[in-house]
Symmetry: C2
Subunit: 195 residues, 2 copies
Amino acid sequence: MPVTAEPTASTKREEILEAAEAMIRTRGYNAFSTRDVADAVGIKAASVHYYFPTKADIGSAVTERYTARFIDELGDSGRFEGKPKEAVARYVDAFRRALVHDRKLCLCAVLGAEVGGLPENVSGHTRIFFERNLNWLTAAIRGKGMSKEKALGMATLVLASLEGAMILSKSLNDDEVFERVAEGLSRAIPVAELD
Amino acid sequence: MPVTAEPTASTKREEILEAAEAMIRTRGYNAFSTRDVADAVGIKAASVHYYFPTKADIGSAVTERYTARFIDELGDSGRFEGKPKEAVARYVDAFRRALVHDRKLCLCAVLGAEVGGLPENVSGHTRIFFERNLNWLTAAIRGKGMSKEKALGMATLVLASLEGAMILSKSLNDDEVFERVAEGLSRAIPVAELD
DNA sequence: GTCTATAATTTGATAGAC
DNA sequence: GTCTATCAAATTATAGAC
């Protein structure tokens, strides 16, 4: 295996996706151009179209890749069977990493907010991100004896809270906002188990 | 008082703000143009600049107006003293109206998600929206004997959940998602009061 | 694969007539 | 107040050379 100069994106194609993702997560889909991406990876705008015919194709590939990575990092939802608190803690950590480590919003919080102004293949993959996350969370939260409706309700609250928390934290430029939401969730979850 | 053709926007200036708000809440700030707004209100793009020198001025005025209207509709936060459940129910209703009646996201959910791609006066007013909402909610939730930190924690969770719930509902095209979050909140709140 | 050149369109904004 | 005319810049994309 050769030593590469870019540890995080080994091919130009991936460098493009990496740069585009960073820009979308910072400014939104309609605030970056193929030129911006080209500059960021050191090629000309026309060359970007060699890898992706249209801008929408970039957005679509970015979202697909983001979703796969995110779900993959969560790991097997089955291991939390009957331990909703741990499942939620694990999930909160994934979002905290995105906000604190990357200093950026969740890609799909941004795309979801702009959904009426997106090409169809981008909004479609945004929807899939949310569906897969609700599926993972519902499975991870649900224990024996807990109804599927109840688990889905908790999962939806967790996902919505965290996406909103990221937006609030960024807008107010205060990571503490995210932590307040995380703490509020950890209080709410065990209680909801009881009834 | 004369009968007007437009019950919701009596002057051209307000028509512009109304149209711009609708577009931002649907597509995002960077996906509408002064021409789009001009078309919507039946004038030429150049005439829009008579009312607002720059596009950023439109965005800023839209956000200021939205914030004032939203806080105004909530009414006096003092009347919920010691009744957090009722305060939150009232607040949830305000968001539900925006989503179900307007069929649109909260303006500041959209702007907050795009915050890195906004002119400074627009991101500034977005921040103010969130600050004023947290202030209102904290005051409405807090009863005698409840610490300010605790009320602020609940307020942050409520605001984040609802902003996130709108994004999820729109992306998944399912109002039930919002209702699941609303129900989850109403379970979480009374419990949090106890300790 | 990457480039230059170029095209068609859109965008935010201004000048000045009416 | 609203218009026409106009502009410079940006944007998405294509054609074709190297």
